[in-house]
Symmetry: D2
Subunit: 384 residues, 4 copies
C-alpha cells in the first residue's frame, strides 16, 4: 500500500527537491500527493502541478498546506521539510502537533532549545520526527553498525571520522555569494564547515558505535583569512561507551572530492568505509588479514540486506542510501498505522534526538575552539 | 508529462522486475499503468494490483494485455518485455506491429533471423525497439563515448574489454539448477558466458568506439569439465573503424565480483573505466599524466551531464545507469509524440540494431571457437 | 663468505649495468672483482677501475677476461652477461665451458638452436646457466608459486597475464632510434612487444603455475602502421597441467606505466598480483572474501620469507626482486662449493631451460600470428 | 671513490643493522670498514669479521673503536650510531669531537638539553651530525618538498599527517616484553606512539613544508587501559610559515599495516602521498583534476631524479629511500673532503637540528596532553 507524501520546500532549481523526490519515489512506496514547494506561492503551485500533484493539493505555503491536509481522509502520511534552516522549527512543530509524521532536512533547528522542544513535541504527539542524515542509509554503513553491535570487533576503542573536501578552497571564489554565505555568521550561524559537513561524520560515528558524544575539544581554522567562520576543524571526542574519537573536516582539502570516511577500531578488529567507494567495507579481524566485504554478498546482516537493491559487484550510490531513509519511514509508518510494532531493522532513520545531539555538539565545538581547545560537554542539557 | 508504461514478465520474486520498476520510476517520468507480470495469470494479476496497477489493467498474459491496451486512449506508451528469452521475439513483434514502443531484455532474440526480423518490424512500424544493455547508461561510459567522438584520444587503435567474475566457479555448485542451465545447450543455446556477460562488454566497446565489430576470432574454454558450454572466453576483434579489440570474459575468475571494465587506447590518449568504480574515469593524454575524471565535475559532455543526478564525490550506481535508459526513452517518446526531433543526447539507448549485432557476434564467436580460432565475419547478414 | 663476481657489458651510461651492480651488491654476498664492461676496451677498463675493480681485472673484452680469470685461484664465481643480445650465446657458452657459473640477460639467445645448445652445454659442464627474468624475484610472486604448489587454490584452471604499457604509443616518436629498432626485424628479430615484454609475463605464469606452455595461438597487431613488428599481442595458451592461459601485451596502452600483472584462478581460489603494487597479493578463497596478503606478514611461505628484507607495511621494489635472483645464486653456488645440496627455496632463479622455453614460445607465437591464429606447439624440440 | 664507513650497534639478529648495511652498500659508495656491533665485545668482533671487516677494525666497543680509528690514515669517514637510545648522546658527541661525521639513529638523544648540546658540538666541530628519519629519503617525498618550494601549490594552508598502524592492538600481547617496554615510562621515556611513529610524520611534514612546528596541542589516549603511555594521539599544530597542522598517530588501528601518509593543501593545489604506495604522488591543481605523478617519469625535480634508481612503473621501496640518506651523506662528505660546496640537492638528509626539534616537539606534546590540550611552544629553547 503506497503512502501519501508531501513536501515543503524543494522548489524548481533546488538540488534538494529532486533528491527527495527520487528517494521517496524509488521503491514505489510513496505517492507525491501534496506540496508547498516555493517561497513564491504561484511558482510553488505551478511546479507541484507539473510534477503531477493534484491542483487542490498544490499549495502556496506551508500554512495553507497544513490547513488543507489536516482534515482530508487521504491526507499525507509524511511531510518533508526542506525549507531554509531557520524555518524548520516552526513548520515541523506545527505539523507534528497536527499529527503528521515529519522528515526535517538538517540542521533540524538553529538552537539547542528549539531542538529540545521539537524532541518533546514529537514525543508528546506520538509522531515521528526524522532528520535527514542520509549518509547513514548506505547499506554498508548499516552493516558496520550491525557488526559493532554484535561484537565482531569487540569493544570499540577508537573511531576516526573525516569529511574533507576542497570545494571552497579557491580564494578567487571566496566572495562568490554561493560560497561566501557559508562562512558568514550572519547567515550561517556559529559554525561553517563543522556544522555543514563535520556533523554528518559525527552522526555517522555515533550511529555506527551506538554511542553518543559526551565531551569534545576542537581546533578551528580559517585557512582563507577572509573568513570569519572555520573552513577546517579537528575535533577530539569521548563517547558514552568510552570510545575515543578523532574527527577532521575541511573544505580546503584540494583533491578530495567528498571525503566522508569512517574508521572504527575495536579490541578484536578494525573497519574502514569511504563514501566515495560505498559498496566495499574493509574489515580486518585482529591477527588476520584485511578482507573486503561487498555490498550484496550473501552473508550480511539483515540491516544491510534490506538496504540493498542490486546484486553484488554492481554499484549502488547516494540515491539508494537516501531512499533507504524513506523506505525505513514507509515501513515504520505502515506498521504504526496497522497497530504493529515497527521492525527494528527499519528503525534506523535518524530521529529528532539525533538532530538535537548534533546541534548541541556544534555549539560545544564552537565553544571549545573559542576557549583554545578546552574540553566541553557535548550533550544537550536534556540528556545530561 | 508522465508517460504510461507497461511490463510483461518481472513477476514476484524475480530480480529483473524490481530493477525495471526502480529504473522506470526513478525520475517520475513513467507511471506503471499496465502489466502481465507472471506466467501464472492469477499470480500476475494479483501482483500487479498490489503494485498499484488498476485492476482492469492487471492482465493475465501478454495477449490479453495487447488486446486490452491497444485501443485505450490512455494506452501505455512503452512496453518492457522481461519474459524468458525465447518469448522475446513474438511478444516484441506483436507490440511493435500494434504501434507500441518496446524495450526488450537482452538477448533480444534467440536467432539472428528473428533479430533481423525485429529490426525490420520496428523500422516498418516506425516504433522504437530498444534493448536493455543497461551498463551503457552509466554517465562516465557516455562521457567516454563523447570523448572518443570528439577526438580527445585521436583515432582509436585498441580497445580492451573484460567482463569476468567468479560466481560460477564452485564445482560443488555446478549441478545446482540455478547455475547448471546456463551451461546446458538445451536451455542456454549456443553460448554461455560470452552470450551472458561478454556481450555486454562487446556492446559497450562498440558504443564507446562508435564502431561495429567486423570480424572476430574466439578461444572458448570450459574450465569446469562437466560443462558443455564455455565458462571462459577470449575474443579478438577488428572493428569497422580499424580498431583492434581484445575481450575476455569468465565466470570462474574467483575474486572478481563483477569485472566489467573497458580500456580504450587512441593515438593521443587512453581511457579506463570499471563498473565497480563507476564514478571515476581514468584518462591519460599522450605524454602527460594519468588524471581522474569524476562523474559530476563541472566540465563534462552534455551526454554525461544529463545522465548524472547527484553532485561530484557522491556515488551513483547501477540503478541510475539503468534509469538513464528509461529517461532516454521517455524524452525520445515525448519528443516523437510532440512531432519534434528527439534530442541526440537522449538517443543513446541501445536499439534493435544493437541487439541484432550482438546476436550475430555470439554466433560468430561460437563458430570461430569450434573452428580452432578461425576468423569469422561478426556482422549480421543484413549489415554485410 | 663473499663470492667474487664479474660482469661483461653494462658499461657507463647503460641502465642495466647499475641495476646488476645494485642487485649483486645489496646483501653483501658478492664482491665486484672483474669486468669487461664496454665494447670500447679502454672505456671499459677505465670504468671498471673507477667502480673499484683491481686494475689487472679490468679487462678490455670478454675473451681477455676469460683468459685472465680462468686460472686465477680467486677467480670470479659468477659471470653476468649483459651484452647485446646476439653475443649472449658465444660468451655464455665459452664461460660455461671454462667452468664458470653464468647469469645471462634475456633473451638468452637469438635462436632456439642456440638456446638448446646452451642448455646442453650447462648440463655437460655441471654449471649454472641462469637467465634474468628478474620479476619472479618478487617475494609475493614466489609466495603465489608456493600457494599454488601447496594446493591453496586447488588445481589451476586459468591464468591471465598482462604486460601492457604505453611508452611506445607516440607516433611522433616512432622514428626515434631509441624506439624504432625495437620494431625493426633487422635489429629486433622476429617479434617486438611479445619478445620484449610479453615473455616476462609468460615466464612468470609458468613459474607460478609450475607448468610449461604446451601450445598457443596468437593475434599480433601493429597499432602504429609504420611498424613491421607487433606492438600489441594477445596469446591464448594451454599449459602442461591443463591450465588455460590468456596473455595480453602492449606498448601502446597509454596510461599504463608498466602493467605486469598476473591472475591465477583455481578450483578453490583466485590470486591477483601487479608489479606496480608488488607488496600486496590479493587472494580470494572460494566462497569467502577477497583478502590482502602483505609482504612481510608473519605467516608466509619460506620462499617468500627469504625473499623479504623489510618489515610489513614498508615497500620493497624492483631492486630487491632483482637482488633475490643474485641471493639465490650466491646461496646455491656457496652450497655447491661446499659440496652440499642447495636449498630448494634458493633454487628459484630462472635457468637455461626457462630461457630456451621462452625463445621457443616467441617463435611459436610469431608462427601462429602469421597463420591467422592457428594453434602451434609452444615447446622447444628437445622438450617435445 | 668509495668512503670508509663504520657502525656502532646493529649486531647479529638486530633489524636495524642489516637495514643500514643494505642502505650504505646499495650504490657502492661506502666500504664497511670498521664496527663495534654488539654490547658483548666478543660477539661484536666476531660478527664484524664475518661481515668482511678487517680483524683489527672489528672492535669490542665504541671507545675501542674511537681509539683505533681516530689516528688511522684510512679512518672511517662516517660513523653510524645504532645503539640503545640512551647511549646515542655520549657516543655521537665523542665521535663528533674527534672529527668524525656521524649518523645517529632516532631519537637522537633522550633530553632536549642533550640534543641542544649535540647541535652545538657538531657546529663547533664543523662535522655532520645526521639523524635517521629515513622516510624522507623517498623520491616522491623529496618531489613534494620541491613542488612546495617552487610554489606549485601556492602558500601552504594545511598539512595533514598520519602514522597509524595496528601492530600493538592485541590485548593478549600487551604484556609481551617485545611490546610492553614501549608503553612503560621507565623504558620508553615520556611518550610511546607519538615519539616512536608520530614524530616521523611530523618530521616529514616539516621537511616537505620547509617550516618548523611553532606550537601544538595534543590529545593522548591509552586505548589499552593497562598502558601508562599513549597508544593513540592527535596533535594540532601551527608551523612557522602559518600552516595549520593535523597529525594522527596510532598503534591500535587494526587493519592499517603502516599508515604513514602526508597530505598538503595550498592555495593553488593539493598533494597526497602514502608510504604504502610510495611510487605515486597524487596532485590536484586548483580547479583541475587529480593527477598521478609517477616516480621515474621524465619531468620531476632534480631532488626526485637523483633519488630514483629504476625506470617508471617499477617499484622502489624503503631500502632505496634509506639508501638515499647514505647517498646524500657520501656526496656531501666527498664534496667537503674536496673543499667544495656540497650540492644542495644532496643536502636533504635530516640533521641534528631536526633531531633536536623532534625531541622538543615530543616534550611539548606530552606537556599539552597532561594539561588537557593546552597549547604549548613546540620549539627547543635555543630556537625560540
Amino acid at each position: 500500500m503506497r503512502l501519501n507524501w508531501g513536501m515543503i520546500g524543494g522548489g524548481e532549481g533546488s538540488q534538494i527537491g529532486p533528491a527527495h523526490r527520487i528517494a521517496a519515489g524509488m521503491d514505489g512506496l510513496f505517492t507525491f500527493a501534496a506540496g508547498a514547494l516555493d517561497a513564491d506561492p504561484a511558482r510553488g503551485r505551478d511546479y507541484a502541478r507539473r510534477l503531477g500533484v493534484a491542483p487542490d493539493r498544490a499549495y502556496g505555503d506551508w500554512k495553507e498546506m497544513l490547513a488543507g491536509e489536516r482534515n482530508r481522509p487521504d491526507r499525507v502520511e509524511l511531510v518533508t521539510v526542506a525549507t531554509p534552516n531557520a524555518t524548520h522549527y516552526p513548520i515541523a512543530k506545527a505539523f507534528l502537533e497536527a499529527g503528521f509524521h515529519v522528515l526535517v532536512e538538517k540542521p533540524m533547528t538553529v538552537t539547542v532549545a528549539e531542538a529540545e522542544d521539537l524532541v518533546r513535541t514529537a514525543r508528546a504527539a506520538g509522531r515521528i520526527c526524522a532528520v535527514n542524515y542520509g549518509y547513514t542509509g548506505y547499506a554498508l554503513v548499516r552493516h558496520m553498525k550491525a557488526m559493532v553491535a554484535r561484537g565482531d570487533i569487540g569493544k570499540v576503542r577508537l573511531v576516526v571520522a573525516e569529511f574533507a573536501h576542497g570545494h571552497h578552497a579557491d580564494a578567487a571564489d571566496a566572495d562568490n555569494p554561493r560560497v561566501r554565505w557559508r562562512y558568514d555568521p550572519a547567515q550561517a550561524g556559529v559554525s561553517a564547515q563543522f556544522a555543514d559537513c563535520g556533523i554528518h561524520a559525527l552522526h555517522m560515528a555515533s550511529f555506527v558505535l551506538g554511542q553518543e558524544a559526551v565531551k569534545l575539544q576542537a581546533d578551528f581554522a580559517s585557512c582563507l583569512p577572509v573568513r570569519t567562520l572555520e573552513d577546517d576543524a579537528m575535533v577530539n571526542l569521548r563517547f558514552s561507551g568510552g570510545t575515543v574519537g578523532r574527527l577532521w573536516t575541511s573544505s580546503v582539502a584540494i583533491g578530495r572530492q567528498h571525503g566522508l570516511t569512517l574508521q572504527v577500531f575495536g579490541e578484536t578488529g578494525g573497519l574502514r568505509w569511504a563514501q566515495e567507494q560505498p559498496n566495499q567495507l574493509f574489515y580486518m579481524p585482529l591477527g588476520k588479514r584485511l578482507q573486503i566485504i561487498e555490498r550484496g554478498e550473501g552473508n550480511l546482516s539483515p540491516e544491510a540486506d534490506r538496504a540493498s537493491r542490486v546484486t553484488v559487484g554492481h554499484a549502488e550510490g547516494m540515491p539508494e542510501a537516501f531512499a533507504n531513509i524513506y523506505r525505513d519511514l514507509a515501513d515504520t509508518i505502515t506498521a504504526l498505522n496497522a497497530g504493529k510494532t515497527p521492525d527494528p531493522a527499519a528503525n534506523l532513520f535518524p530521529k529528532a534526538e539525533d538532530g538535537l545531539r548534533s546541534i548541541a555538539a556544534i555549539h560545544a565545538a564552537v565553544a571549545s575552539a573559542a576557549a583554545q581547545g578546552a574540553w566541553e560537554d557535548a550533550r544537550p542539557p536534556m540528556f545530561r
